[in-house]
């Protein structure tokens, strides 16, 4: 049965992107918003918008009762959770199942099983998918987690057993670091997922993070949509993703795709999902985790395969078979996504809050921008600082990268600091252009990428600053032009 009205249980760029897909598919959409997002772009992108609570995520976007109440009030027959927030909480999928509302994602028991790293690993082991040494200590006391870390041998990763996205993850190389890391990871895990259970894992030296997009329907069809290379990370948060990976030869791609399809089948998966692998060298890969939701970086796959993953999610949620067979899918050209964050690379990437005085998106051949903000918005402190994603496509990696750099340097954002210039320098750095990527790369070359304030600005910038005028309502400084004409907006 086709979907009639989809409630989008998210905010920012992904809520906007899903609302657009609904509109294209002729499905009504309902946005939800907290008090901090009353006028946010996503509330205007949907056909209607429902308030779900105060700014605090726990009382709004992370509240299953608030989301279910909004769905009931608005007459939604489906809920799309986006990524983050409740997308990997089995509780929301379960609430949908009992309320007779379709959840745009896998069944709740699949989310629960894959959300538990230990259950997911056991399942993968059974399906013949290689896994990294590690586990969830049965003794979850600080001392228990510490001895588990010690037993694996440092360096070790400590992370939240629930959820992904790098939240709550710590690399520790000694008992002392482990003690501090356990406490911090637990707090972050509790804050982000409401579950402080920790997981420890052997650290693979200089690995790549390569993930395979999978898609399954309710009729037993499972396909993969090739890989995304996500090794460009800072503190375990992805910042640049691309497809194809420069490291993956066709035969390795085929093996990884086969392993991912086997994993999705073993999980009884449905909808869009991602199998994350750590790749050691160019051909050894280990199952890392499965993300049972749409990924932030899904547009990279859309660019190289030419499909619309959100459309397919809506179709599969309605009970339709997959729109494509494995044989119909192919990877063509190259795509690179850059995550645009409100953060200051000069100040240890501190998240930034403030007004978007000026925000002009670039455009051009092969450029796609998925944004959650518009000029005039105020970026607050309550949520993730992701403003937008810039995706550049080209026939080759060089062309895609050149288009991305050109777009990043034609992307004026004033009033709040962003990582845009940092991304442009990163994409031009030898370490990136050579394609020899690993997850520690950004950390290694960071000093070369953040030397922003050295030297004089161009004389044109200084002259322009002399002419920058106050807004009409801002009397805090004098305006050399006010006598001639009002420039304020």
């Amino acid at each position: 049965m086709p979907l009639a009205r989809v409630l989008i249980a998210n905010r920012g760029e992904i809520a906007v992107r899903i609302a657009r897909a609904c509109r294209e598919a002729g499905i009504a959409s309902v946005a939800v918003y907290s008090d901090a997002d009353r006028t946010a772009l996503h509330t205007r992108a949907a056909d209607r918008a429902v308030r779900i609570g105060p700014a605090s995520p726990a009382e709004s976007y992370l509240s299953v009762p608030a989301i279910m109440e909004a769905a009931r009030k608005s007459g939604a027959d489906a809920i799309h959770p986006g990524y983050g927030f409740l997308s990997e909480r089995a509780e929301l999928a379960r609430a949908c199942e009992s309320a007779g509302i379709r959840f745009v994602g896998p069944p709740s028991d699949v989310i629960a099983r894959m959300g538990s790293k230990i259950a997911a690993r056991e399942l993968m082991r059974g399906a013949g998918v290689p896994i990294v040494p590690g586990g969830t200590p049965s003794d979850q006391s600080d001392a228990g987690v510490l001895s588990a870390a010690r037993a694996l041998g440092y360096p070790v990763l400590i992370k939240a057993s629930a959820g992904g996205g790098g939240k709550g993850m710590r690399m520790v190389a000694s008992d002392g670091e482990a003690r501090e890391g356990i406490a911090a990871a637990r707090r972050e895990a509790e804050a982000a997922f409401g579950d402080g259970t920790l997981y420890v894992e052997r650290l693979i030296d200089r690995p790549r993070h390569v993930e395979i997009q999978v898609f399954a329907d309710a009729h037993g069809n499972v396909v993969h949509l090739f890989e995304r290379e996500c090794s460009i990370q800072r503190r375990h948060q992805k910042i640049v993703e691309e497809s194809p990976s420069t490291a993956i030869a066709p035969d390795v791609r085929e093996r990884m795709g086969g392993a991912a399809v086997a994993a999705a089948r073993a999980a009884n998966y449905r909808s869009a999902g991602t199998i994350e692998f750590l790749v050691e060298g160019t051909s050894t890969f280990y199952f890392l985790e499965m993300n049972t939701r749409l990924q932030v970086e899904h547009p990279v796959t859309e660019a190289v395969t030419g499909v619309d993953l959100v459309h397919a999610q809506l179709a599969v949620a309605a009970g339709d078979p997959l729109p494509w067979t494995q044989g119909q899918l192919s990877q063509r050209g190259h795509a690179i996504e850059c995550r645009i964050y409100a953060e200051d690379p000069e100040r240890e990437f501190l998240p930034q809050a403030g007004p978007l005085l000026l925000y002009r998106e670039p455009s051009g051949p092969g450029i796609r921008i998925d944004a959650g903000v518009v000029e005039g918005d105020r970026v607050g402190v309550n949520y993730d600082p992701l403003l937008a994603k810039l995706v550049a496509y080209g026939e080759t990696r060089e062309i895609a990268a050149a288009r991305a750099v050109e777009a990043l340097t034609s992307y004026p954002v004033l009033g709040i600091r962003t990582n845009i210039s940092f991304l442009a320098r990163l994409l031009q750095h030898d370490a990136f252009t050579s394609g020899r990527l690993h997850t520690g790369l950004v950390g290694e070359i960071l000093p070369q990428l953040t030397a922003d304030e050295d030297g004089d600005p161009p004389v044109e910038a200084i002259a322009a600053a002399a002419l920058a005028t106050q807004r009409a309502d801002d009397t805090s400084a004098h305006d050399p032009w006010s006598a001639l004409r009002r420039w304020g907006r």
Binding site: E188, R347, A477
Partner: protein, 159 residues
Amino acid sequence: MKLTLAHGDREYEVEVLADGRVRVGDRIVNAVRGESDSVRVDGTQAWIAVHEGVRWVFCNGRPYTFTERGGAGDRRGADRRPRPRQRGAGGELSAPMPATVRRLLVAPGDRVKAGDSLLILEAMKMELPVRAPAAGTVRAILCREGDLVQPGVALVTIE
């Protein structure tokens, strides 16, 4: 009209001349105003905006910020690094940005070493420890766990 613009630690003497030209140091450039938020300087397009005394310019592919000496945004000597700010001889520590106090790790009377974590702030899902800038004794805790705190407001004092 003459003004002094600061960019980081650098200062520039600038004069806006009557005929749309601008003198920067000993160089004179031609400025053509576009809309309220754009200006072309010697053929180079720049975007401009001002907020709370900070002049934002996007030019040659990247943003720059300037403040006018003596103007509203003049924060001479202000610490630009993201560590909590220390103000006054008494050692007041404050948040570098709006944040929530996640955990208090010390109590009044505690002896602390330089670098010890005093409390943990959280903003945008990131934790930021507030560390002691020098050894001393915690004199007062001026916030509670769960408080939403603004930059510049003292959280802890150390002597």
